[in-house]
């Protein structure tokens, strides 16, 4: 069994509704299968007393003909399951084949078939089934076929989109490129990976089929020679006053079966994508604290931002991941700090912690953040003054951010101008329309967007323009500090370069302080005064930019620099690291880089390295920082 399958199963069983529905389904299925051997009264036997309420003898009472309702409910389960399985299987079979054909072969085949799926989805299926059954006569097989004939497009559409996605999956492409024939690719790569959502949807399909059959039976269009729950309710309706249990029992059975099918489908979906259950949400209430008693007044020398021993922990299920694990730095007014690191090092978490916009499953567990000398976070708790969080007073007016992907960071259904006006109005309630427009125009001019694009929606802008709009939005309230999180990552080389240039220009002109979070040493090198290198949640080295490139005093920094190919320098073998083993990092006793470090010693593996000050603000967390510093990297340019 593959890990994903095991995980899905375990996830389904672990959720209360999932486990519960499986149990109910198992009971109903067992009852249906075993009905003939359970020693129940004959469900058609009419010799019991009429209209008996539930009793020890007749658990669910008897009906108008003196038949045992419990026996009928159990036998009715057979019909319900027959309909469910029959209709769902048939529907999935037709749907998957046609959906797979449409998705896999594309082109006009897809065009035609998709059209047919769409049309079928627009047809009110129940009415079509009604019409079919009314015209052709009521029988269970016909009902099953009619349900399948009207529901298959559901599976087809699902299969089609699955196949479309899978078709572009690299391993499918690779198999094709390797010369595998289509049938083999479909069989080995497409179906096993695409079938899960269809099977999941099958449970919902089964529920639908059962309700449809019950509805038909209730309208008198069911198979009259079978005991069906819908039919029982239909009969019960006439005797509602005399024997309400006649309709209660089959209805509860229907509800239980359909609800457990739906819940099962839901649980499987959640188990396959656990984040679906917990995504989004409103920001949770976090612990707060009153401002410290004696805060020194800020002077011109006070750094704009001071971070001390900041810690941020993510909770993923039962696991707790320390993404930021004791980070300290100081940012002076007007200075640009680059935070560099590879994926998972905690650089973006650090960025989000500064503006307190981290996701709900993240929590600050310690550390202090001071803005202009005033604490906004103290011991990991937000500082609240006169009922208002201090950070709220700083948002956007003092600290603004530029988010990674402008496409998603701007509201897609609102014009750029509107979004900027809203931000202006929020913080400057009195501002007039004309003033707002003037201000937006001014910022647009700064960042090089034509004023004519003001009324554009984000999607109407090119990638570069959109990113500029994001920058404009961040500048609209003249903040002092801008935190830019990978502002150019998704852009083309030329545009990237342009925008980095513009950010640098603005910083100079507006005397902005800047924190630039990036994975790109090069980008940071040109834009920042100070560079901090993060590894596994800590700043392992921080230094003025020239210093860190010319004289890196941490082996990780050295590798990072040595791993980048040069365009103008001499060609030489690049340095590299073995793959990061996050388990080894987490379990590390000493230096967390030791497992990958080419220069690691026993000392490194045993003892956490201290922060070694090397002068001029250059600090390295390495046992051998001094010797590295003494041995400058050859400057090859």
């Amino acid at each position: 069994m593959t890990p994903t399958l095991t995980k899905t199963l375990r996830g389904t069983l672990r959720s209360v509704p999932g486990a519960l529905s499986l149990v109910v389904l198992a009971i109903i299925t067992a009852a249906a299968l075993l009905a003939p051997v359970l020693g129940l009264p004959d469900p058609a036997e009419m010799e019991f007393a009429l209209y008996q309420p539930p009793s020890a003898e007749h658990w669910l009472g008897t009906d108008n003909f003196g038949r045992d309702i419990f026996a009928r409910v159990v036998w009715g389960a057979r019909v319900a399951l027959m309909v469910a399985i029959g209709a769902a299987l048939l529907s999935i079979l037709i749907g998957s084949v046609l959906g797979a054909v449409a998705g896999y072969f594309g082109g006009w085949v897809d065009g035609l078939l998709s059209r047919v799926f769409d049309i079928f989805l627009l047809i009110p299926t129940f009415f079509l089934i009604l019409l079919i059954v009314a015209l052709f006569g009521a029988s269970l097989p016909l009902t099953i076929i009619a349900i399948a004939l009207t529901t298959w497009p559901r599976s087809a559409r699902l299969m089609r989109s699955q196949v479309l996605t899978l078709k572009s999956r690299v391993y499918v492409q690779a198999a094709l490129a390797a010369g595998a024939p289509h049938w083999l690719v479909i069989l080995r790569h497409v179906i096993p990976n695409g079938i899960a959502p269809i099977i999941t949807d099958g449970t919902i399909l089964m529920g639908m089929a059962i309700l449809t059959e019950a509805g038909l039976s209730f309208l008198g269009l069911g198979d009259q020679n079978l005991v069906s729950w819908g039919g029982m309710i239909f009969e019960g309706q006439r005797h509602l006053r005399l024997a309400p249990w006649m309709s209660i029992a089959p209805g509860v059975a229907l509800l239980l079966l359909v609800a457990s099918l739906n819940l099962l489908g839901d649980s499987i979906t959640f188990a396959m994508n656990p984040q679906l259950r917990t995504r989004g949400g409103a920001p949770k209430k976090r612990p707060t604290v009153a401002p410290p008693a004696n805060e020194p007044a800020a002077t011109t020398d006070t750094p704009i931002l001071e971070v001390e021993d900041l810690r941020l922990v993510y909770s993923v299920g039962a696991r707790r991941i320390a993404a930021v694990d004791g980070v300290s730095f100081t940012l002076r007014r007007g200075e640009a700090l680059g935070i560099v690191g590879e994926s998972g090092c905690g650089k973006s978490s650090l960025g989000s912690a500064l503006l307190q916009t981290m996701p709900n499953n993240a929590a600050l567990t310690g550390g202090t953040i001071r803005y202009d000398g005033r604490a906004i976070v103290l011991d990991g708790k937000g500082v609240v003054e006169k009922g208002r969080a201090r950070i709220d007073a700083l948002r956007w007016t003092r600290i603004a951010t530029i988010f990674q992907s402008a496409m998603n960071a701007l509201n897609p259904v609102t014009t750029v101008r509107r979004q900027m006006t809203d931000a202006l109005r929020l913080h400057r309630p009195g501002i007039t329309r004309a003033e707002a427009t003037a201000r937006i125009g001014e910022v647009f001019g700064l960042i090089g967007i034509p004023r004519s694009r003001m009324n554009a929606y984000p999607h109407q802008l090119s990638g570069g323009m959109r990113q500029r709009a994001m920058i404009a939005l961040s500048l609209i309230l003249e903040p002092e500090l801008v935190i830019a999180d990978e502002p150019t990552t998704a852009l083309d080389m030329l545009i990237q370069d342009q925008i980095l240039g513009e950010i640098a220009d603005l910083r100079a002109r507006l005397n902005l302080s800047l924190i630039l979070v990036s994975h790109d040493m090069g980008a940071v090198a040109e834009s920042c005064d100070v560079v901090a290198v993060m590894y596994a949640g800590r700043i392992v080295e921080i230094a003025p930019t020239r210093q860190i490139f010319d004289n890196p005093a941490h082996p990780y920094t050295r590798t990072l620099i040595g791993a980048l190919p040069s365009l103008t320098g001499p060609l030489e073998e690049l340095e590299s690291l073995p793959a990061t083993d996050s388990a080894a990092v987490a379990a590390a006793q000493g230096c967390r880089f030791a497992h990958a470090c080419p220069a690691a010693t026993d000392l490194c593996r045993a003892k956490v390295p201290p922060a070694v000050p090397l002068g001029d603000g250059h600090i390295s967390e390495c046992h051998y920082a001094t010797s590295f510093a003494a041995e400058p990297r050859e400057v090859r340019a």
Partner: protein, 321 residues
């Protein structure tokens, strides 16, 4: 102008769908066992009328010409005559539509407003115990057979407690107009609206919970929070507005499902709407009425889909009109 062109385009797209539905209808009549003219005229119809029907639908002509004749009739708004009452089917259906609209519309508004609100609130704390409970509950809600829920409501409120009437749309001897009539109808509406709304409510809670929580995870919501918008505003201005897109889509697409619920509810409560009409037509094998209802339902759903697209386009500037 753009809108007109879009409408034109969409209507053009509707054409093959409409044709397809008509052809299905036509094919079903011809595939069904028994004589087509009997299906169309009704059993035991007098020979003169039978001949009229044969003439009208060109039943003596080759199949494709019959299809043409059939489409021709439909284009004139002629869905045939009910063989129970011998009145034009279109008129019979039109007569029943207001009652269905009243019932389904009220339930829909109730369920969607309440459902979206509850779903949005749940989306604020996804994964919490309350959220899981509400999700489970809403799944259970829409797993209830609507006709059964109706029966149970009748049992409780009409039979046992005798608070509310169990069926019909108005009292027989009650007032026929004015506020008295409105109150009377309102009293009759409570139970059917409740059962329909309860089941749809489950759908909307889930739908809106998923859509809103999805939106709340979007980066632009984080942007809004970073800008300093209060959470209430983030919710209404950003999350709900954007979440309306998927909600509207599903609402439009599931209209057929909604109408199904309405038919069954009307049957239980003897509500004199389209659903009840279909039920009566099934009982009396009034094939022209069943087919007419199917056609009308299909076209309604189609128009709803068009309307959905228009609303969607109004809500989402990314849709190119």
């Amino acid at each position: 102008m753009k809108l007109l062109r879009y409408l034109f385009y969409r209507l053009l797209q509707m054409f093959p769908i409409a044709l397809f539905i008509v052809v299905i209808n036509f094919a079903l009549i011809h595939m069904a066992p028994g004589d087509v003219s009997i299906l169309l005229a009704g059993e035991g119809a007098d020979p003169e009328y039978m001949e009229q029907v044969r003439e009208r639908y060109g039943l003596n002509l080759p199949l494709y010409q019959q299809l043409g004749a059939y489409i021709g009739q439909l284009l004139q708004g002629d869905l045939g005559l009910s063989f129970r009452t011998r009145e034009p089917v279109i008129g019979i259906i039109a007569e029943r539509i207001p009652a269905t609209l009243l019932l389904a519309g009220t339930a829909l508004v109730l369920a969607s407003v309440l459902g979206v609100a509850i779903g949005a609130v749940m989306a604020r704390r996804p994964g919490s115990a309350l959220d899981t409970a509400v999700t489970t509950l809403s799944i259970s809600l829409f797993s209830i057979p609507v006709f059964w829920l109706g029966l149970m409501l009748i049992l409780l409120f009409a039979v046992t407690l005798r608070w509310l009437p169990s069926s019909g749309m108005a009292s027989i001897a009650g007032p026929r107009e004015g506020i008295g009539y409105a109150l009377d109808v309102a009293r009759h509406m409570v139970l059917p609206v409740l059962s329909l709304a309860a089941i749809w409510l489950g759908q909307y809670v889930r739908l809106s919970r998923a859509a809103v929580s999805e939106t709340l995870a979007e980066p632009y919501v984080t942007t809004a929070r970073a800008i300093g918008f209060p959470e209430r505003r983030v919710m209404t201005r950003f999350a709900l507005r954007n979440a309306m897109l998927p909600i509207v889509t599903v609402l439009g697409l599931e209209l057929g499902l909604l109408l199904t619920g309405a038919v069954l509810t009307e049957t239980v409560f003897s509500w004199p709407g389209l659903g009840r009409l279909i039920y009566e037509a099934i009982l009396s094998r009034d094939t022209p009425v069943i087919m007419g209802a199917f056609l009308i339902m299909s076209f309604t759903v189609m128009l709803a889909a068009l309307l959905t697209d228009l609303v969607y386009a109004a809500l989402d500037p990314r849709v190119r009109l």
